[in-house]
């Protein structure tokens, strides 16, 4: 059965193969397990890019397939990061505290250890009490459950409220943006209990694994991210290839008709919104231990908009498009803003990419929206010379066969 599913979706097979080859290549070239041609910091960048690919898939599902332009998925991504970050910080600090307390003549009580951990973690932000939300921070299993649960529940509650009152289209986008803004403003407060602007840091040091060097840890995370991306891709491909996929595409193209056909549009949207939030949470939980620090600035609305940018440039409505977009744009961005790109001298003015890259990105985004709604993935269509009936007008949605502009006006 699985075989036939893969056969029906050759792109999935190709993608998974490419991902596997990529992972093996990086491992072979890395400092820890191979030739040392790729520096550890770049391995981390690649690992993070894979996580971004995963959250891009989630975004593509809600936006490219279901037409819900959510500007909140990076918030779910960040929440996943916070959840795993709490355990990492707690556990690492506990190790430090216990080792420093072991010299004391009187053995510490459990309460004293907790107090000391609290002081250690919250001392920098001027407090020492453990807030309630850290109740499960001592348990890896519970925090891992929360990685999925917290974004999922938030998405469910928000989605249920929004879809129930039939907020759709740009209104939903603005509302999700407001939710993201509220969340980031909340986390910016010191009183939020997650260390305010400082966020959770030192996440790259895995508790109990101090002896393992970062170049090894970075490869582990690369593998984990690749695995998560592969599984996420499979799940997403399976979802969109079945009946569920047909219904959500139908919702994207004409919500009213699908509703009149008797489908519970709201339930479909809500299910998809929640599941993709969970995927985003998992991606975040893998991303931030590689980044080393998570703070509210990561959750700011702009991040979610960038996510939409990646998916749009990569190509909506194609899962591999989303991954390519996320990988391509984030890597190219960091190349240009990293100061490595050569300046262009025009004689009277020197173009410094650090200054001009955002302008290029912004404008290229306008151009992609206007002239290439299929994004980079559209190139694959051309290369494969896949044909579709030549109907009049531009695509309304990104998929071949979507409602055409002129038809929509009728």
């Amino acid at each position: 059965m699985k075989n036939s599913f893969l056969m029906r979706n050759p792109s999935t097979l190709i993608f998974l193969a490419a991902l596997a080859i990529f992972t093996i290549m990086v491992t072979v070239l890395s400092e820890a397990f191979g030739l040392g041609l790729i520096s550890t910091s770049f391995v981390k960048t690649l690992g993070k890019t894979l996580c971004l690919g995963l959250v891009a898939i989630a975004m593509d599902l809600v936006w490219g397939y279901a037409g819900i332009l959510s500007l909140g998925h990076f918030a779910f991504f960040g929440l996943g990061g916070y959840m795993i970050g709490m355990w990492l910080m707690y556990e690492r600090t506990r190790d430090i505290v216990i080792s420093s307390m072991s010299d004391a003549p009187i053995p510490p009580t459990a309460e004293e250890i907790t107090d000391a951990i609290g002081h250690q973690i919250f001392g920098v932000v001027g407090s020492s009490e453990f807030p309630l939300i850290w109740a499960f921070a001592d348990s890896l299993v519970l925090q891992l459950v929360l990685v999925v649960l917290v974004p999922g529940v938030l998405a469910f509650v928000f989605g249920w409220l929004a879809f129930r009152s039939r907020v759709a289209g740009v209104y939903l986008s603005i509302l999700t943006q407001a939710m993201t803004l509220a969340l980031s403003l909340y986390l910016f407060q010191n009183d939020s209990g997650l260390r305010g602007n400082n966020g959770l840091s030192g996440l790259q040091n895995l508790p109990g694994l101090d002896a393992v060097a970062q170049d090894v840890v970075s490869i582990w995370f690369l593998w984990a991210s690749a695995l998560a991306l592969g599984l996420g891709y499979l799940l997403a491909a399976w979802v969109v290839s079945g009946k569920f996929g047909s219904v959500i595409r139908g919702i994207r193209d004409d919500e009213a008709r699908v509703r009149f056909l008797g489908y519970s549009v709201e339930s479909y949207k809500l299910a998809l919104f929640t599941v993709t939030a969970c995927i985003a949470g998992i991606a975040g939980a893998l991303y931030y231990p590689q980044a080393g620090i998570i703070n509210p600035a990561e959750i700011a609305p702009i991040a979610s908009i960038y996510l939409a940018v990646w998916v749009a440039i990569g190509g909506r409505g194609r899962l591999y498009g989303a991954v390519i977009g996320a990988g391509f744009v984030s890597l190219v961005s960091s190349w240009f803003t990293g100061g490595q790109a050569p300046d262009i001298s025009l004689g009277f003015y020197t173009i410094k990419w650090v200054d001009w890259w955002l302008i290029v990105l912004g404008l290229s985004f306008v151009l992609v929206t206007l002239f290439a709604p299929k994004g980079i993935a559209g190139l694959f269509d051309l290369a494969g010379s896949r044909k579709w009936p030549n109907r009049h007008g531009a695509d309304l949605g990104p998929d071949a066969g979507a409602l055409r502009e002129r038809e929509a006006n009728e």
């Binding site: 409220l161 407001a178 985004f365």
Partner: protein, 650 residues
């Protein structure tokens, strides 16, 4: 009396000195040279007293020069002079005693005496007696300000003496008020103080409250048994009700009336000092990570007499019952505290009402800022249904236009008058260009409009950074907008906010006029309701869309000038307002200007209201406001004022 003797002595000294050297003031300054150059409020008093009590005519001149940082010391001989800067950058020196010019000196040879603000205030107080009767009203005002800032009992008599001779009516009123306040605080006659309090009751001034509140300051004391008679008691404190039992017991401990409680850290430290053979008090060391084991071990130590016992709750209660806790006024006079507390009660009620008024003004002001930021959006998004994420950047563009104009035209009033139409023109043109180049291709793809305009938004923001830098730039308001409209010490609002309010109102009027009374408004309404029908009536929808979008953008530009005046001009200016602006339009109800107004009012007042509940955390106010809006939209998805037949997203 002591002061008088001192003054006499000083006078005597200066007389003898004057006889010998003919430079009495310079001698005084030299005597206190170290203090004057060190210039600290803690040590300067003798120097000031020596000058002001010298009885010399030049004392006032010296103090005034000192206060305005005009005294310089010559490095070569350490002599002090009043110095005045010449056009060439050197300094003309004046002798204090003769008043004569002593020629010029280079800045490198001089050292400026810089009294800090605390020292200047002390000099000001010393000057009061000289200046109260001064012929220059500005100096008399300075003396009054000094009294207001640093009231003291010695100033009461000279102040009273100066009232009758005061010619300026305004100053006379001020002097009367200062005299009343000093009477309340310092008069030796109890009935005069009570009378002054009743004279002033109902007044809202901070200075009055600042005079009354110290009279009502209390201290908490503990007495074994009953409190003695003759104290000006404010109230008795019952432990557990008026004061927590912990705090009450701590008071007993600090007064030495009860043994201290032992906390966990102390228990742990005590246990640590009594370890013997891996045990403490018969409890094995490894068990001591349990709280009850520690308690057992400590009890054992107490039994052996090695540690102080922790008082039990029964003991604590017995101690508390045996004592009485009272709050006592620092002010001994009962009638004064009574009158003061009554007066203060009235005032506080009045202050509370005025604070609500002030809050309303603040809310109104914030609402008008939001309205101003959102009104352009009400046109492009509300009327045309085009989502424009670059709206904030149009606001920014307007603000930068204002900045550029201000660089070209130095006169602030003229530059603002030019900047407003220029900002409109610039952003109108930008809006039209954007509509022609991008938006018109996307009218049927609203989500993609959002993304494309977002691309423009980041490009414009970065462009502004490249051109103007990341530094916040000043957009200075004209002088007549400086300051605030002050109703009383509680209610005030800055003129710039009033101007923004007026601007918002006039924009509302302009908007209504254009939409209801002009051809463009008619055509806009026609095109937005049914473009094809409008086109068949001879209206060119392309042109109308272009002009309407330009109008919305232009208004955003003018809003930018206003916002820049009130806050700052940075490339991220637009970012701060974009989400709030969309919220304003959506909450208010899309497609209706009154809705936008209602939305702005609701958001503005709500935010101020939440801030009022939680004054120490402004960030929380913003978070709660957004959450409230999200929930509000669930229940009224079409906004406060909904157009019939349109749901959000249709």
């Amino acid at each position: 009396m002591k002061r008088l003797i001192l003054a006499g002595l000083a006078l005597l000294m200066t007389c003898t000195l004057a006889l010998s050297q003919e430079a009495p003031m310079q001698d005084i300054l030299q005597d206190h040279s170290a203090l004057i150059t060190k210039s600290s409020r803690m040590t300067i008093a003798p120097a000031i007293a020596a000058i002001s009590d010298s009885g010399l005519t030049q004392a006032q001149d010296v103090l005034q020069a000192w206060q305005s940082k005009d005294i310089w010391q010559r490095k070569s001989d350490g002599l002090f002079f009043r110095a005045k800067e010449t056009a060439e950058g050197s300094y003309i020196l004046f002798d204090f005693d003769s008043g004569e010019t002593l020629g010029e000196a280079d800045k490198a040879d001089l050292k400026q005496i810089k009294p800090n603000s605390g020292v200047r205030a002390l000099i000001g107080s010393a000057l009061v007696t000289f200046q109260l009767q001064d012929s220059d009203p500005a100096r008399r005002l300075a003396a009054l300000t000094s009294i207001e800032r640093n009231p003291s009992s010695e100033l009461l008599a000279p102040l009273r003496a100066s009232i009758d001779t005061e010619t300026d009516a305004d100053l006379k009123a001020k002097k009367r008020r200062a005299e009343r306040l000093l009477t309340i605080a310092y008069d030796s006659d109890e009935s005069a103080r009570v009378a002054a309090i009743s004279d002033m009751s109902g007044d809202l001034g901070v200075d009055l409250r600042a005079t009354l509140n110290p009279l009502l300051e209390t201290r908490t004391e503990v007495f074994a048994g009953e409190a003695p008679e003759g104290l000006n008691l404010a109230r008795r404190l019952a432990p557990g009700e008026d004061i927590s039992t912990e705090a009450a017991y701590d008071l007993l401990v600090t007064a030495g009336l009860a043994p201290a409680r032992i906390d966990q850290a102390e228990i742990r430290a005590t246990l640590g000092t009594h370890i013997s053979e891996q045990e403490v008090g018969g409890v094995a060391l490894e068990d001591l990570n349990q709280p009850e084991a520690r308690a057992r071990a400590y009890a054992a130590l107490v039994a052996q007499g090695l540690a102080e016992p922790d008082p039990t709750s029964a003991e604590i209660k017995a101690h508390l019952d045996a004592h009485q806790f009272v709050e006592i006024y620092n002010e001994p006079s009962r009638p004064v505290t009574l009158a003061a507390s009554e007066a203060l009660e009235d005032i506080l009620l009045n202050v509370g009402m005025n604070q609500s008024l002030d809050l309303i003004l603040d809310g109104l002001s914030l609402a008008s800022i939001y309205f101003l930021a959102a009104i352009g959006l009400a046109i492009t998004f509300g009327v045309m249904g085009v989502i424009n994420m670059a709206h904030g950047e149009f606001i920014m563009m307007g603000a930068y236009t204002g900045y550029v104009i201000q660089q070209l035209i130095p006169n602030h009033t003229a530059s603002i008058l030019v900047a407003i139409p220029m900002a409109f023109v610039v952003t109108f043109a930008a809006g039209v260009a954007m509509e022609r180049l991008v938006i018109r291709w996307l009218y049927n793809r609203p989500l993609e409009t959002l993304l494309a305009t977002f691309g423009i938004s980041i490009a414009l923001q970065q462009l502004a950074k490249n051109i103007f830098g990341t530094q916040a730039l000043p957009l200075t308001s004209p002088e007549w907008l400086d300051g605030a409209w002050v109703l009383n010490d509680v209610v005030s609002i800055s003129y710039i906010r009033i101007a923004i309010f007026i601007l918002a109102i006039s924009f509302l009027a302009i908007f209504l006029f254009i939409m209801r009374r002009t051809r463009l408004g008619l055509e806009t309404r026609a095109v937005t309701q049914n473009p094809r029908m409008a086109a068949s009536m001879g209206i060119n929808p392309n042109r109308v869309n272009m002009l309407t979008f330009g109008l919305g953008s232009g208004i955003a530009g003018v809003a930018g000038v206003a916002i820049g005046l009130f806050a700052k001009v940075t490339s991220e200016l637009g970012n701060d307002y974009i989400v709030q602006s969309f919220m304003t339009v959506v909450v208010g109800g899309v497609g209706n200007i009154w809705g936008t107004l209602a939305g702005a009012a609701m958001i503005g007042f709500l935010q101020k209201g939440i801030e009022w509940f939680n004054p120490s955390n402004t960030l929380a106010a913003q978070t709660f406001m957004i959450i409230f809006i999200i929930i509000f939209i669930q229940f009224r998805p079409r906004g406060i004022i909904a157009l019939k037949g349109r749901a959000a997203g249709d």
